[in-house]
Amino acid sequence: MKIQVRYFASLREVLGAEEWVVLDQGGTVGSLRDHLLSLSDGHGQALARSRAVRYALNQRMCSEDAPLTDGAEVAFFPPVTGG
């Protein structure tokens, strides 16, 4: 399963704007976060479970239970601060 991962704001500064990930099996946005955590020290710090990270699946806000599909766009970002 191929997933397009996008990062914004402080996460983007550390991890870059995007990366493609290939997963052996499906899962959820939450399991994807756990997988990304393991990729590097930088990933581990930026996406640590102690940090508040919000998610969007195919450009819609979602919870970490949201199931992944092949080719999905999943974004990770800090709590939003617009307006």
């Binding site: 996008r6 914004f8 704001a9 402080s10 983007r12 508040a52 919000r54 969007a56 450009q59 819609r60 806000m61 974004a75 970002f77 800090p78 709590p79 939003v80 601060t81 617009g82 307006g83």
Partner: protein, 162 residues
């Protein structure tokens, strides 16, 4: 008429009001909210600039969905949200929410609803430059609480660990 505008250029509030209610004799009330850049936040003074990042595509779609909800909840005739992105200075205009309706009660409520919703769910992030350097602005629990008044769970700002 486009209901959501995201861009870097400044907007003119009276032009936007005129466009929103143009030719609609059923409008008796127009409520607007204008958000502007401050040079201070709490103890932090001397903020020299503010950078607004967003998620192109998702930003527009999410605000469109919020406006759809406003139409479902309130008896309004038209609504529009404009939000600037990019590099802004203190005193600059950031965001404009306009709502037109027959009567003022619905327009006031819909405008507040849209701002409460946007503050906690629209994908923008602010980075302010201070004399000590640049820092990303933190989300506020009070904004989540504001959205809760409308019966919507925000879950944006991190809860303080007890």
């Amino acid at each position: 008429m486009a209901r959501v505008w995201i861009g870097s250029e400044d907007f003119d509030v009276s032009d936007q009001i005129a466009q929103l209610r143009s030719g609609d004799g059923g409008v008796g009330a127009v409520v607007t909210f204008l958000g502007t850049v401050r040079d201070r936040q709490g103890d932090q003074h001397g903020i020299s600039s503010l950078e607004l990042e967003h998620y192109p595509g998702m930003t527009e779609a999410s605000i469109e969905a919020m406006i759809d909800q406003a139409f479902q909840r309130f008896d309004i005739r038209s609504a529009k949200v404009l939000h600037r992105v990019g590099l802004l200075q203190p005193l600059d205009q950031i965001v404009l929410v306009l709502v037109a309706s027959a009567h003022r009660g619905e327009a006031f409520q819909a405008c507040e609803f849209l701002m409460d919703y946007l503050k906690t769910q629209a994908p923008f992030w602010k980075k302010e430059t201070t004399p000590e350097g640049a820092r990303w602005v933190d989300a506020r629990v009070s904004d989540d609480q504001a959205l809760q008044r409308w019966g919507i769970q925000a879950d944006n700002a991190p809860m303080p660990s007890s």
